[in-house]
Amino acid sequence: MDRPRRPCLPDTPPLLSDNLRSISIVTTLWREYAAAMADRLSAGQQRDVDPDAGSASRGRAIEVHGLTKHYGPHEAVRGIRFSVERGTVYGLIGPNGAGKTTTLRMLVDIIRPSSGTMRVLGVDPRRGGPALRRRIGYLPGDLRLSTRMRGRALLDHFARISGPVAPGAIDALAERFDLDLDRPVRALSKGNRQKLGIVQAFMHEPELIVLDEPTGGLDPLMQREFIDLVREARDRGQTLLLSSHVLSEIQQAADRVAVLSAGRLVAEGDVESLRLASIRRLRATIAGTTADAVGGTLGSISELRDLTLTPGGEARDPVRVAATIDGPVDPVIKALARHLVVDLTVEEPDLEESVLSLYGDEGRQGQETSLGTGSRFIRRPRHAGDGHAGPRRSGDTEGGPQ
């Protein structure tokens, strides 16, 4: 597992066609096997030299297999599987109700899985007890702090449980987020409480930081500060797992991403190549031409879907264009530029929309139940051009348990 931390961008298309996929699985399986053997060998050698060598960067901080949670007949999480390498940032995205919070809560033993296995920092959370959780920083998705205590007193309380906290660490974090620790917590705004939540998760520099919707309520400036904080933590060797229903947030912060939908993991891959990232909603207003002419220039662009042209009332009135860009935006922009563009919006679509449009019914019913081990976790290329490392659809990795 001595891969470079930032992988090279895969130069293959993110999604292989169905025919190619099966070939890819075979190669992936083989590479997986070879890499596992190599890891085992090198790990053994390392241990002889220094048991702690590279402990921050090697091994998995989180391993989850077949994790399921149901509340009565309702299945919140349906047999998901993923792993997080140490020293990386892993993003869990999905629409609301996809099972993100339930998954994260199981990792910190707030709720218990109905079935499946978990390993967090090498330990089963059910058995790890308080000692394990002190090694984890956790920010709940629904952070409600209503105490009369002041911010500092509350942080001291958490430090007593999870400490030690380096002297000055709390103040440094508070200053960074412009957070007043001398006010009663319940008098703080939602954004400031969220900052307090971030501080309590990071202050004791835990090995693993689990953050559920961490930037909710933060203004854009603070969101950027938060992303920086995440990167610094990773560069120190800490592992971070964060969930969000905002794709751009995960894109900025995470190395690897899993997409959850309706309790199932529908895709997993390197964030740079995640196909979700390439879907954009386009709206434009174009003047000085006709709907037919615009249709002529845009109609041939393969990246465009759902193209709708609304002509103005009069002959020379502006034409309104609406479409979905599925791929690079450049050809679309170049084509639009041939006309007089009065207005242009290119925006990230609603995550639920994009998950459904990309993964369709898989996201709802799911095909993942019989996923095998091994092939599920896609290795990053060891060097440039070493095969495909893009996101995978869950259906393409059928295989038996090891």
Partner: protein
């Protein structure tokens, strides 16, 4: 890392209401006890009581109100003190686990590495300490007024009644704690604690009506605490053991229940 984080935080978060309860108790005692020489000690009250229906007198436990110990028992330990301490301790018991869970505090504390057993035990410790504080305030106030109000109590009686009162109200509190740990719902927890308190009092009041119903006292925590008139007679160790033992069992139930289930926000 210092000891008892949950306990310390609970106290830090709730010392203000605790002081308010203490003031209420002092006020009630200051109101009732000094009246004893005027209406209790000189037989006036005995006359009034004679005029009341016997059933009512029995239900209220006013039968021996003509003595200092009987008066203090009937007005404070058996009535207002029991009422105030029950309300306070049951609300604390409901807030301890269920309230913390509903407010999201439990999730964060547990995620930070507080064991669930530890959480339950520290919550119980908080209940005990806060109740002890109120009972102590009450005991000191009674002792202070003992002379001026001509109650004629002895120290052992006050101590024994305090321990009985505390044991009795602790059952309501730990019942609320246990139901809170089982269900995670503050409303259920508080209801359970209140039900225990009302049940004990009602059963005792019914038993007062007739000697034939005396056996009901065997099932009433209220009777266990006060039937032997601790203010006058001192400690009744077997029944105290029963009272406190039930509380201990309820705390154990709370710890086991919390260990076993999902914590929901």
């Amino acid at each position: 890392m210092r000891a008892l984080p949950v306990f310390r935080r609970s106290l830090a978060d709730s010392w203000r209401p605790l002081i308010a309860w203490a003031i209420a108790i002092v006020a009630v005692l200051a109101l009732y006890l000094p009246l004893y020489p005027d209406i209790g000690g000189n037989g006036q009250l005995a006359q009034i009581i004679e005029g009341l229906p016997q059933g009512l007198v029995n239900a209220l436990g006013y039968a021996s109100i003509g003595t200092g110990a009987g008066y203090a028992q009937a007005t404070f330990y058996g009535l207002m003190g029991f009422l105030l301490l029950s309300i306070a301790s049951i609300s604390w018991g409901g807030a301890a686990i269920a309230g913390a869970e509903e407010s999201g505090r439990l999730e964060l504390d547990l995620a930070h590495g507080v064991g669930r057993t530890q959480y339950a035990l520290e919550s119980a410790l908080t209940l005990v300490v806060k109740l002890a504080a109120l009972v102590t305030v009450a005991g000191v106030m009674v002792w202070t007024l003992n002379g001026p109000a001509e109650l004629g109590l002895d120290a052992e009686g006050v101590l024994a009644a305090s321990v009985s009162l505390m044991g009795l109200t602790l059952i309501g509190a730990t019942a609320a704690l246990a139901v809170g740990a089982l269900t995670g719902r503050r409303a259920f927890a508080t209801a359970a604690g209140a039900a225990i308190a009302v049940y004990g009092y009602a059963l005792n009041a019914i038993a007062n009506q007739s000697e034939r119903l005396d056996w009901l006292r065997n099932a009433s925590p209220y009777s266990w605490a006060f039937e032997s008139a601790p203010l006058a007679e001192g400690f009744d160790w077997p029944r105290l053991a029963l009272l406190w033992g039930i509380s201990a069992a309820l705390v154990a139930v709370a710890a086991v229940a919390l260990r076993r289930r999902d914590v929901l926000g």
